[in-house]
């Protein structure tokens, strides 16, 4: 099966969720989402970076240049307090929606 299209608006949530595990750089975030979703979700870099910029502007994440474990200089993103609150509310409404969709699909 082809990797499904991401539901709109969920990318921000996935990124924020990833960052709750600790600061990470763009590559790390992409790899993590891919790995955790067992290769099902492939975050196109083409949408990852615009999303990160968006999150920065909303002040849901902050960014800082730092050294990676392989000693490269990379930009590490960190979730902010506002970001955590936002994540909580997004998870809530996401769950609500998934449940609702589930109900619809299981009826008939």
């Amino acid at each position: 099966m082809e990797a499904p299209e991401l539901l709109p608006g969920t990318l921000d949530m996935l990124v924020l969720k990833t960052l709750t595990r600790g600061p990470n750089h763009g590559y790390g975030i992409a790899q993590h989402i891919r790995r955790v979703s067992r290769e099902a979700l492939r975050i196109g870099e083409g949408s990852l970076y615009p999303a990160l910029q968006r999150l920065l502007l909303k002040e849901w994440v902050s960014a800082q240049w730092d050294m990676t474990e392989t000693n490269r200089k990379a930009r590490f993103y960190r979730i902010t307090a506002v970001g955590r609150r936002q994540l909580a509310s997004e998870v809530k409404s996401f769950n609500f929606m998934v449940a609702a969709i589930g109900h619809v699909m299981e009826s008939s």
Binding site: H25, G26, Y27, A30, Q31, G44, E45, G46, S47, Y49, P50, L52, Q53, R54, L56, L57, K58, E59, R72, K73, A74, R75
Partner: protein, 849 residues
């Protein structure tokens, strides 16, 4: 989204972009390394990573949009594009910018005048509460004249309508400044004067009823003469040889009237309180709160109506007192001309906008391809409309800036216009006016940008119907331009013909090579006039010289009623009212006024000799039609005077009016007035000669208000000339714009329909039919325009009726020739492109696409 973050990001966008690039480079590197670790070759890994990554530029762009102020960036981009486009078509851009510049410039300059004199009269505070009370006496054509002390006192008593009332009369002073005599224009004002205008002193105080020989300085005089010295209060100013105590200084923004440099306290002699006697007072009043101008006027009318006119000696005179807003006093007869000019400037601007819209439409047609491509690769329609509007706004803004420069020049010219009205000197461009001009330019930009934008929207919505859509825009365009041009041209033609008619009026004397100036007679020097005469005659540069009070066209006629001995005034007689001149015997010769009958005044007509006078032909014909006036006696100034001669008729105040009967007295027998006019005929400029002669006669006397007679006459025509020529310029420009615009539009239609014409001709249409169809369409629209223009001109007649001279408002010849002229030009503008259409080669036309 937090705007501030965006702005910060936008400002640091260079850094942000390189950060992003670095991030992406790293990301790719890590991907490659991962692939290599999974067993790919280096090259393979690079290709796969690149593929996985996709189009870098696209998402860098997308990321960038996150931190850009998107709309701003878009607008800036549009602006850059518009700028490049404007530069790529310099001719079109220059035409658009110049057109707008002229329209905006003319409008702004005229609005600055309107603002100064109409809306906010010379900076007076709450001008809408201020009124002027003026006398009218219909029987002798007196309207809006000064009041006597009686009316002043009466209005002062109406405390239910007015909270403060003041009177003012003009006063010329001779001040001694550094030993030199200097003439100072002042006003004598009653104590409440400054209270009426609601001003507070900059320094010291204003007048109290107890003040005698006190003076308040204008701010400009205080600065110029005393360097703004605060210790000036209490010091003396020598006026006419007497010491006046300086009690205060007026604030800088109080300049009413503009010519006044000092104000002195007004003393009204009890003998002045006679109705119609010594009518020298301008009466100003402040309305009580809640009282309208109309109610105040009504209050005054009721009072005057209740007077016993017979007892007052004014029965059947049409005597009254009129109360008007103070702006009437300030603008006077400028009001209507100003509104006309403003309307004309708007017509020019609108014609200009229509033209530019036409130009842009033509350009938009040439850009259909560009637009189609942009839409097909995903540009939204809104985005393209926005871009078109940005383009036209850019042109509008550039035109606006150029227009404001023009307005600046225009205002400088206006303040130098040779008009009697002093107020125009105060006109200046302030921030509000500049803002008005610029907004006007931007609105114009939007206005003419809408046409191509609307067309684009419509085309994109109904592209299949494009060919059959009605060409209403072109027709409306042609009609509107013709209407505007015709209305302006017809109005201008009426005014120009009036101007020429007035200019060809001869005043009855030879105005060339005449110089005039004035002096104030010194106190305690009765021999001064004779010494001055002798000094002038002794000068070799002087052909002939005379003294006179008043001089023609100096704006200070002496008018009075007169009596004729042994004759009763009967009902139906012409009014016994005329002008008087007090002159030396050389006056007739100097002015070249012919002596028709009898003898001239002579040096032997001294103060002690029997009182004699000359009358002019008009008086002789009107009052002595079938008899010899010589030897008859007439009483006007002083006493019964024997008529000794009859002279030619002279127009002394305006060229337009028929002259009034004139009586000439010998100056030696009527030395009543403090000022004397000097009239010198000379081939060389007489200024230095006059100054030298006056200094020779009495070194303490100042010469003022020197001007050639031709300048004075021109000044009396000033308003008429300025209005006619400005309108002529506006009319000419709008006509030119209309011709160019119509030509361009028709040419554009022809170009657009080349294929269609080709097909028609291939199907057998004759060139003549094609020509007729195009020319006919243009002419039909033009005819509608002429009709609209006629209506507009007819409406404008009301406003210019008072400016017309020897021509009727709906002068058929003028209207017909203006209409024919405009039609000819329209025909020419339509003809050339239509002929080109008729010469289209069907073969070529059909191969063209």
């Amino acid at each position: 989204m937090k705007l501030w973050n965006r702005v910060r990001r936008w400002r640091g966008r260079r850094a942000a972009e390189s950060e992003l690039a670095e991030e992406i480079r790293l990301h790719r590197q890590m991907l490659e390394e991962k692939f290599i670790a999974e067993g790919m070759s280096r090259d393979e890994a690079r290709t796969v990573a690149a593929r996985e990554f996709g189009n870098t530029t696209a998402f860098v762009e997308e990321s960038r949009e996150q931190w850009n102020l998107q709309w701003l960036a878009g607008a800036v981009k549009d602006l850059r594009f518009a700028w490049r486009l404007a530069r790529r078509q310099p001719l079109l851009s220059a035409a658009a910018i110049l057109t707008i510049a002229f329209g905006v410039g003319a409008n702004t300059a005229i609005v600055s005048v309107l603002e100064t004199v109409l809306l906010n009269p010379v900076g007076l505070r709450d001008a809408n509460r201020l009124v002027v009370a003026r006398v009218r006496i219909d029987k002798i054509q007196f309207r809006h004249v000064q009041a006597s002390a009686v009316e002043f006192r009466e209005i002062q008593g109406m405390t239910d309508a007015f909270s403060a009332v003041a009177a003012e009369e003009g006063h010329y002073w001779t001040a001694q400044v550094g030993g030199e005599p200097v003439r100072l224009i002042g006003r004598s004002v009653s104590p409440d004067y400054f209270r009426v205008f609601g001003v507070n002193p900059e320094l010291g105080r204003f007048f109290t009823p107890e003040d005698r020989e006190s003076v308040v300085l204008s701010h400009s005089y205080w600065v110029a003469q005393f360097g703004g010295d605060h210790s000036v209060i209490g010091r003396a100013l020598i006026l006419d040889g007497r010491a006046y105590r300086i009690v205060g200084v007026a604030p800088a923004d109080f300049r009413f009237p503009p010519a006044a440099r000092i104000w002195t306290s007004l003393y009204l002699d009890p003998g002045r309180f006679r109705r119609g006697y010594n009518m020298n007072l301008w009466v100003f009043a402040r309305l009580r709160n809640g009282v309208s101008v109309a109610r105040a006027a009504d209050r005054v009318n009721r009072y005057i109506g209740g007077l016993d006119m017979k007892a007052e000696g004014y029965e059947g005179f049409g005597y009254g007192v009129e109360v008007d807003p103070i702006s009437d006093f300030v603008v006077g007869d400028l009001r209507r001309p100003l509104w006309i000019l403003w309307a004309a400037a708007l017509v020019v601007l609108l014609t200009g906008c229509a033209n530019v819209a036409g130009l842009l439409l033509t350009r938009a047609a040439g850009r259909r391809r560009e637009m189609a491509i942009r839409i097909s690769i995903g540009a939204s329609r809104l985005r393209i409309v926005r871009q078109l509007l940005v383009e036209s706004l850019l042109l509008g803004a550039l035109g606006g800036l150029a227009g404001l420069l023009l307005a600046d020049v225009g205002v400088k010219l206006i303040t130098r216009l040779p008009l009697e009205s002093q107020w125009l000197n105060l006109v200046k461009l302030d921030a509000r006016i500049l803002a008005y001009g610029f907004v006007l330019a931007l609105v114009s930009g939007l206005f003419f940008g809408l046409a191509p934008a609307l067309q684009l929207l419509r085309e994109s919505q109904a592209s299949a119907l494009v060919r059959s859509r009605p060409r209403w825009f072109q027709d409306v365009f042609v009609a509107a331009e013709v209407a505007g041009a015709f209305a302006l041209v017809a109005t201008t033609a009426l005014l120009l013909r009036s101007l020429w008619a007035v200019e060809s009026v001869r005043p009855g004397f030879d105005a060339s090579n005449l110089t005039t100036a004035f002096v104030l007679k010194p106190n305690n020097d009765p021999g001064f006039p004779d010494r001055l005469r002798a000094a002038l005659e002794a000068s070799p540069a002087v052909e002939s010289a005379a003294l006179a009070k008043p001089t023609p066209f100096a704006g200070a006629e002496l008018t009075s009623t007169f009596n004729i001995r042994y004759r009763e005034h009967r009902a139906g007689d012409p009014e016994w009212h005329g002008e008087a001149y007090m002159v030396t015997p050389e006056y007739l010769h100097t002015m070249r006024i012919p002596l028709l009958h009898g003898r001239n005044l002579a040096d032997s007509d001294t103060a002690n000799a029997p009182l004699v006078c000359l009358i002019d032909a008009k008086l002789a014909q009107t009052f002595f039609p079938n008899e010899d006036p010589i030897g008859k006696e007439i009483e006007m100034y002083r006493d019964w005077a024997r008529i000794v001669g009859v002279v030619g008729t002279v127009r002394g105040s305006t060229l337009e009016e028929g002259s009034r009967p004139i009586v000439y007295y010998s100056l030696a027998q009527t030395p009543f007035f403090p000022d004397i006019g000097i009239v010198v005929r000379s081939r060389v400029p007489a200024g230095p000669v006059i100054r030298e002669a006056v200094r020779h006669a009495n070194a303490s006397v100042a010469v003022y208000d020197m001007a050639s007679m031709e300048e004075r006459i021109a000044e009396s025509l000033g308003l008429r000339r300025v209005l006619a020529w400005l309108l002529a310029i506006f009319g000419g420009i709008s006509l030119l714009l209309a011709v160019v615009g119509i030509y361009a539009v028709v040419a554009h239609i022809v170009g657009e329909r080349t294929t269609e014409i080709g097909i028609r001709m291939a199907l057998g249409a004759k060139p003549r039919q094609i020509l007729a169809s195009f020319a006919g369409q243009g002419l039909r629209a033009g005819a509608v325009g002429l009709a609209c223009g006629y209506l507009a001109a007819a409406w404008a007649q009301r406003w210019i009726a008072s400016m017309l001279y020897q021509i009727r408002p709906f002068d058929a010849a003028t209207f017909v020739s203006a209409g024919v002229g405009v039609l000819m030009l329209l025909l020419a503008a339509v003809w050339w492109p239509a002929r080109r259409a008729s010469r289209i080669d069907p073969q070529q036309a059909l191969h063209y696409e």
